[in-house]
C-alpha cells in the first residue's frame, strides 16, 4: 500500500455540490485540503434538473453566499435563464430560480477548485475510511493509495452502493452511469454506522430539434438585476436568456403507463428504497391521482452547447420502450427523439441521528458527512451542509467553537436540526413551510443574518464584507431619514397620496409611517420627498419589508426569544440519561440515541414529551445546585 507523501488537514470524499463547498471553505480558512472524486469530469455535476433555486432552495443559496460559499457565484456566472418566483405571495417566500448551463456550471466550479491554492483536486474511488482509536486517520482508494488526513468529510451523494433501474434492467452505477462506490458502504458499516436505502429518479432527456415548440407554451425568464450572490446586487441582468416550454401529459399518455404498470419497478418490488413524495415518478402520479387527466411538463434546456432537453415532471423508471411510447403521445413531443432514458437510482444513506449539529459523526471523531449521503435531496441542501461541514472541520482544527446555525437563523439551521434531531424517512427536501420563523428567514436579508458570522470565521472575502457594511450603513442612514422626515397634510401631499390610491393625511406623519401603507412603494416616496437619496434595489427591498411587516416581524421576534431560552440551555456532553429520574423509557432511549445539544433540541425529538423536558430541567437545576 502506497502512502501518499503529502498529508492533509482535510480530505473531502466527493466533488459534488456538498463536496465543493466543504473543500473550498476548509481551504479558504487556511487548511491544506484534498478532494477525491470518482470522475474529474463530473465535478459539481447536476445529474437531475438543470436548475438551481426556488422557494427555500433559493434561500439556501443566498445563505451559502452570505457565509462566503461559492454556489451563488457559480450559478450567477453560468445561468441561462432566471426568474423571481412568488413575487405576489410576499417578500418572505419570494425566491430566485435559475436554469444553469450544466456543462459551464461544472467547468467553472472545477476551475475554482483547481485555482484554490490550499486545495488539491484528484480522481480516485475511495473504498475505505481509516480509523484509529475512534479517530479518523485518512482514506484508502481502489487503486491502492492511502491518503492521510486529520479530518475527513464524506460527501458521496448517491454513489454508495448505487444501483440504476430502468424497467427490467438494473446495474450497479452512480448517477449518469458513473462508477458505484460499493466498498465504502461496507467500511462505514464496519465502523458502526447504520445505513438506510433511499431512491430517487430522473426523467428522460430528448433532442431539442425534434420538439414541436409551436404546440407548447414558452416560459421566458425575467429581466432585471436578478442574481443569487449579494456581490452581484445591482449588476446588469443577464442577456439572451433561453426560454423553457410548458406542455402536458394527456389520457393517452396515462393509458400507456397504466397498460405497462406491471413492468414498473416501483410497483413490481424491484425498487426497495424510499423515494421522495415531492418528486414522484410519472407512474406514481398516474396511479396515486387517477382522476387527474393531465400533468405538467416543463421542457428545460440543459445548456447552450447541447440540444439535450430535460423533461421536468416526468421522472420515471419504466422500461425504455414504454418511455419511448408515452413520450410521443405528448403534445409537442409527437416526433421526439429520446437520447437518454429516465432512470431510478437506489443508494445508501447514513441515519443522520448519528451526527452532531456540527455534522461530525458521533462514532468517529473528525469524520463529517454532508449532502445526499445524509438523506437529503437537492443541490442546494447539499451545498449548505457541505459548507457547514467544511467550516466545522476547519474550526475544530483551529480549536475554535463550532458554527451551529439555529432554526431562527437560517434555513440551513432548520435543515440540519431536522436531520440530526428527527432523522428523515424519505429524501429530505427543504420547504419554506418547515421553517417556524419564515418571515425572518428571507432571501433579501440572508446577508444581515449570516455575513457577520461568515466574516468572523474568516470565510467572507474582504470585498464582500466591505459591500455588506456599505449596504448596512445605507439601510440605517435611509431608515433614519424616513423616521425623521415629516410629511405635512398639505393639499399637494394629499393629492399625491390619493393618486396612489392611498388615504390623505390630517396631521403630519413621518415618511416611515407612509411607507408602512401596503399601496405605497419606494418610488411613491420619491414623489413626496424628491430629496431622498438614490439607493440600491437591495436596500429598497429590505427597507420596504422591514417597515411594512414590522408588526408581524416583531411577533416572530418575540416567539424567537422564547425559543432561544431553551435553545441556550445546553445539555452537558457527559450527561448520563440513566441518572435523570422520572424520564419515560422511550424518552430515555431517544435522548441517549440523539444526544441533543440543548434542552430545546431535546424537546423536538419525537417521543420526548413536555413532562420529560420538565424532568430534564429539574435534573439540570439540581445538578447546578450541587455543583
Amino acid at each position: 500500500m502506497f502512502v501518499y507523501p503529502q498529508s492533509y488537514q482535510v480530505i473531502v470524499i466527493g466533488a459534488g455540490h456538498a463536496g465543493c463547498e466543504a473543500a473550498l471553505s476548509a481551504a479558504k480558512m487556511g487548511f491544506k485540503t484534498l478532494v477525491l472524486t470518482i470522475d474529474l469530469d463530473h465535478v459539481a455535476f447536476m445529474p437531475c434538473n438543470p436548475s438551481l433555486g426556488g422557494p427555500a432552495k433559493g434561500h439556501i443559496v443566498r445563505e451559502i453566499d452570505a457565509l462566503g460559499g461559492e454556489m451563488g457565484h457559480n450559478i450567477d456566472a453560468t445561468m441561462i435563464q432566471v426568474r423571481m418566483l412568488n413575487t405576489r405571495k410576499g417578500p418572505a417566500v419570494q425566491a430566485l430560480r435559475a436554469q444553469a448551463d450544466k456543462k459551464k456550471y461544472h467547468l467553472r466550479m472545477k476551475k475554482v477548485l483547481e485555482e484554490e491554492s490550499n486545495l488539491d483536486l484528484k480522481q480516485g474511488l475511495v473504498t475505505k475510511i481509516l480509523v484509529e482509536e475512534g479517530k479518523i486517520r485518512g482514506v484508502e482508494t481502489a487503486t491502492g493509495i492511502k491518503y492521510l488526513g486529520q479530518k475527513v468529510i464524506l460527501t458521496t451523494g448517491t454513489f454508495l452502493r448505487g444501483r440504476i433501474i430502468i424497467g427490467e434492467t438494473t446495474f450497479e452505477a452512480g448517477p449518469n452511469q458513473q462508477l458505484s462506490a460499493k466498498e465504502l458502504s461496507r467500511s462505514l458499516q464496519e465502523n458502526g454506522f447504520t445505513l438506510k436505502r433511499f431512491k430517487t429518479g430522473t426523467p428522460p432527456r430528448v433532442l431539442g430539434r425534434t420538439i414541436d415548440y409551436e404546440k407548447t407554451e414558452p416560459q421566458p425568464g425575467h429581466s432585471g438585476s436578478l442574481f443569487f450572490s449579494f456581490m452581484h446586487e445591482g449588476r446588469e441582468g443577464i442577456q439572451g436568456q433561453l426560454p423553457c416550454h410548458l406542455t402536458h401529459t394527456n389520457p393517452r399518455t396515462h393509458a400507456i403507463i397504466n397498460e405497462n404498470i406491471h413492468r414498473a419497478p416501483l410497483f413490481s418490488g424491484v425498487i426497495e428504497g424510499t423515494g421522495p413524495r415531492y418528486c414522484p415518478s410519472i407512474e406514481d402520479k398516474v396511479v396515486s391521482f387517477p382522476n387527474k387527466n393531465s400533468h405538467q411538463i416543463f421542457i428545460e434546456p440543459e445548456g447552450l452547447s447541447t440540444q439535450e432537453m430535460y423533461l421536468s415532471g416526468l421522472p420515471t423508471s419504466l422500461p425504455e420502450d414504454v418511455q419511448f411510447s408515452f413520450l410521443r403521445t405528448i403534445t409537442g413531443l409527437e416526433r421526439v427523439d429520446m437520447v437518454r432514458p429516465g432512470y431510478a437510482i437506489e443508494y445508501d444513506v447514513i441515519d443522520t441521528r448519528q451526527l452532531n449539529l456540527t455534522l461530525e459523526t458521533r462514532h468517529i471523531e473528525g469524520l463529517f458527512t454532508a449532502g445526499q449521503v445524509n438523506g437529503t435531496s437537492g443541490y442546494e441542501e447539499a451545498g449548505g451542509q457541505g459548507l457547514i461541514a467544511g467550516i466545522n472541520a476547519a474550526l475544530s482544527l483551529k480549536g475554535e467553537a463550532p458554527l451551529i446555525l439555529d432554526r431562527a437563523q437560517a434555513y440551513i439551521g432548520v435543515l440540519i436540526d431536522d436531520l440530526v434531531t428527527k432523522g428523515t424517512e424519505e429524501p429530505y427536501r427543504m420547504l419554506t413551510s418547515r421553517a417556524e420563523y419564515r418571515l425572518l428567514l428571507r432571501q433579501d436579508n440572508a446577508d444581515q443574518r449570516l455575513s457577520p458570522l461568515g466574516r468572523k470565521i474568516g470565510l467572507l472575502s474582504d470585498n464582500q464584507w466591505k459591500l455588506f457594511q456599505e449596504k448596512q450603513q445605507e439601510i440605517e442612514m435611509v431608515l433614519g431619514l424616513l423616521e425623521k422626515i415629516q410629511v405635512k397634510p398639505t393639499p399637494e401631499v394629499n393629492e399625491i397620496l390619493q393618486e396612489k390610491g392611498s388615504g390623505g393625511l390630517n396631521k403630519p406623519v413621518s415618511l416611515k409611517e407612509i411607507f408602512r401603507r401596503p399601496e405605497i412603494t419606494w418610488v411613491d416616496l420619491l414623489d413626496l420627498e424628491p430629496e431622498l437619496p438614490k439607493i440600491r434595489k437591495g436596500v429598497q427591498e429590505q427597507l420596504e419589508t422591514t417597515i411594512k411587516y414590522e408588526g408581524y416581524i416583531e411577533r416572530q421576534k418575540r416567539e424567537i426569544e422564547h425559543f432561544k431560552k431553551l435553545e441556550n440551555k445546553l445539555l452537558p456532553d457527559e450527561i448520563n440519561y440513566e441518572d435523570v429520574p422520572n424520564l419515560r423509557t422511550e424518552a430515555r432511549e431517544k435522548l441517549k440515541a440523539v444526544r441533543p445539544r440543548s434542552v430545546g433540541q431535546a424537546g423536538r425529538i419525537n417521543g420526548v414529551s413536555p413532562a420529560d423536558i420538565t424532568s430534564l430541567l429539574i435534573f439540570l437545576e439540581r445538578k447546578k445546585r450541587n455543583d
Binding site: 422557494p55 405576489r88 410576499g90 418572505a92 413524495r277 421536468s312 417556524e436 419564515r438 420538565t614
Partner: protein
C-alpha cells in the same frame, strides 16, 4: 413553559364552598389584579406591603359590573410560594363569582396556569427542594393523564366534531397556501383562491357557534336565569307553583350571587332554572306596567329565558301587546294559561312574532300542558336533540376557541385587504395552533404530510 407570563388559576377545589381562592403569579400579577380591583381606601396592590391583605370589589374595568366582593393577599418576589410576585384573591366559594374573576384576569392578559405550574415555578425559583420537586413531576404526569381522559370525553361530543371540522378546513386552506408557496409552478387542484373567504368565514361561523355553546354551558352550570312575566292574575304564581310541585323542586337559597335579592333555583329535569326577582312575582306586582322602566328592561336583558304568560279568558289587552313587543323573541316562550276556561283570546295577533312551538297552552290550575312547557324549556336551553348536549364547558377550551377565532378573523380580514399570503399564513397557523390545544395536532409535524396527500406535486 415560559416563566415570564403571569399565570392564574383556581387554587381551591371546584364546587361550592364557603370561600374560594384564585392564585395569580408572575411579574405582572400585581398590575393585573389592580386592573380589576376596587378598594374603598383606593389602595393599589403594587403599593401594598408583602403579606398584607385588603378588602375590596372585583369589577369589570370598563362597565364596572361587580364580579365579587373579595379579600386580596399580596406577596412580593421573592417572598412568596412561587418566588414571584403573587396575589391570592379570596372570594365567595361559588363557581359563578370565581369563574368570573378568573375570566377577568385572563381577559387582562394573564394565562391559565398549566397543571403543576405554580409548583414548578417554585422549584425553579429555588423555593423548593428536590423531594418536593420530584413529587411535582408525578403531579404533572397524573394531571396530564387526567387531562387526556377529559380530552377523550370531549372527543365524543359535538364540540369536538365542530372543532375537528373547523380545523380540517383550516388545514385545507393552510395546505393550499403552503403548497402554492413551496411549489409555485405546480397546478393545485381542489381549491382556488376564491374559496378562501368562504372557507374562513365558515370556520369563523363554526367557532362562534362553539363559543355560543360555552355561554349556554355556563348558563347550565350557573343556572338559567328565568323571568316569568305577565299582567296581574294571569297565573304567574300558579305556573310557578305548578312547576315547583310537579318537579318536586329543589329550592335553594343562593346568597350573594346577584347581591340584590334572594333567588330560587328549581330543578327542571336536571336543568337549574334560576328564577329572577321572584319576590316581585309573588306579590303579584304588575310587572307589565313597569315595562319600559330601566330596571325591568335590564332584568329582561339579563335573562336567559323569559316565560310571558297570557290569560286565555280575558282577551288580548294593550298591556299584553306591549309586553310581547318588549320581550326578545329569541329567548322567550309565550304561555297561554287557563285553557280549561272559556277562550276569548285572539292569537292570530301574536302568531307573526312567535313560531308555533314557542306558544304553549296550559291550565296551570289543572296541571294541563305542563309537560309541553317543560319540553319547550328544555329544547330552548339544550337544543333539539339530547346528543347535542355537550358544551364547551372547559375554560381552557373556551380560551383556545377564542384565540382561534381571533386569528381566523385576522387572516380573513388581512386576505380581504390584500395582505400577502406569507402573512395570512401566520394567522392561519396561529388559529391551528390554538385548535391544536384541543385536538392535539401540531403544525410542524403534519404540514408536509398534508400537502403531499392533498396535491399531486413535483417536477
Amino acid at each position: 413553559m415560559n416563566r415570564e407570563d403571569t399565570i392564574a388559576a383556581l387554587a381551591t377545589p371546584p364546587g361550592i364552598g364557603a370561600l374560594g381562592i384564585i392564585r395569580v403569579s408572575g411579574p405582572e400579577s400585581h398590575k393585573q389584579v389592580d386592573r380589576i380591583f376596587q378598594n374603598p381606601q383606593q389602595k393599589k396592590i403594587k403599593e401594598m406591603k408583602g403579606y398584607t391583605a385588603a378588602y375590596g370589589r372585583i369589577c369589570e374595568p370598563e362597565s364596572g359590573s361587580l364580579a365579587d366582593e373579595v379579600v386580596v393577599l399580596v406577596m412580593h418576589a421573592p417572598h412568596s410560594y412561587t418566588g414571584e410576585n403573587m396575589v391570592e384573591i379570596i372570594g365567595h366559594g361559588g363557581p359563578v363569582p370565581l369563574q368570573a374573576i378568573l375570566e377577568l384576569l385572563l381577559d387582562g392578559g394573564a394565562r391559565l396556569a398549566e397543571p403543576g405550574e405554580f409548583t414548578r415555578r417554585a422549584f425553579f425559583n429555588g423555593k423548593m427542594d428536590l423531594a418536593q420537586a420530584e413529587a411535582v413531576v408525578d403531579v404533572i404526569e397524573a394531571k396530564t393523564r387526567q387531562g387526556l381522559q377529559l380530552a377523550l370525553d370531549q372527543l365524543e361530543g359535538s364540540l369536538s366534531r365542530l372543532v375537528k371540522a373547523s380545523s380540517d378546513r383550516l388545514w385545507e386552506v393552510l395546505a393550499y397556501c403552503e403548497a402554492s408557496i413551496d411549489f409555485p409552478e405546480d397546478e393545485l387542484d381542489g381549491m382556488s383562491l376564491e374559496d378562501f373567504e368562504t372557507y374562513l368565514k365558515r370556520v369563523e361561523g363554526d367557532l362562534e357557534d362553539a363559543l355560543a355553546t360555552y355561554s349556554r354551558g355556563k348558563a347550565l352550570r350557573e343556572g338559567v336565569r328565568t323571568t316569568i312575566i305577565g299582567r296581574p292574575n294571569v297565573g304567574k304564581s300558579t305556573l310557578l307553583n305548578a312547576l315547583l310541585g310537579e318537579e318536586r323542586a329543589l329550592v335553594t337559597s343562593v346568597p350573594g350571587t346577584t347581591r340584590d335579592s334572594v333567588e330560587e333555583i328549581i330543578n327542571l329535569d336536571g336543568i337549574p332554572l334560576r328564577l329572577i326577582d321572584t319576590a316581585g312575582l309573588r306579590e303579584t306586582e304588575d310587572e307589565v306596567e313597569k315595562l319600559g322602566v330601566d330596571r325591568t328592561l335590564k332584568l329582561l336583558e339579563r335573562s336567559d329565558l323569559i316565560l310571558a304568560v297570557l290569560d286565555s279568558t280575558t282577551g288580548f289587552t294593550a298591556e299584553d301587546e306591549k309586553m310581547l313587543e318588549t320581550i326578545p323573541p329569541g329567548k322567550s316562550l309565550v304561555v297561554v294559561n287557563k285553557i280549561d276556561l272559556e277562550e276569548k283570546i285572539d292569537l292570530s295577533r301574536i302568531k307573526g312574532h312567535f313560531s308555533e312551538d314557542e306558544i304553549l297552552f296550559i291550565s296551570a290550575r289543572e296541571g294541563q300542558g305542563l309537560a309541553n312547557v317543560r319540553a319547550a324549556i328544555k329544547k330552548r336551553i339544550i337544543g333539539t336533540s339530547e346528543k347535542e348536549g355537550i358544551w364547551v364547558s372547559n375554560l381552557r377550551h373556551e380560551r383556545a376557541l377564542k384565540g382561534a377565532l381571533k386569528s381566523v378573523q385576522a387572516a380573513r380580514e388581512g386576505w380581504e385587504q390584500g395582505v400577502t399570503m406569507d402573512l395570512v399564513v401566520v394567522d392561519i397557523r396561529g388559529a391551528l395552533h390554538c385548535l391544536g390545544q384541543i385536538t392535539g395536532e401540531t403544525i410542524s409535524q403534519d404540514i408536509s404530510r398534508e400537502i403531499f396527500s392533498r396535491f399531486c406535486i413535483g417536477k
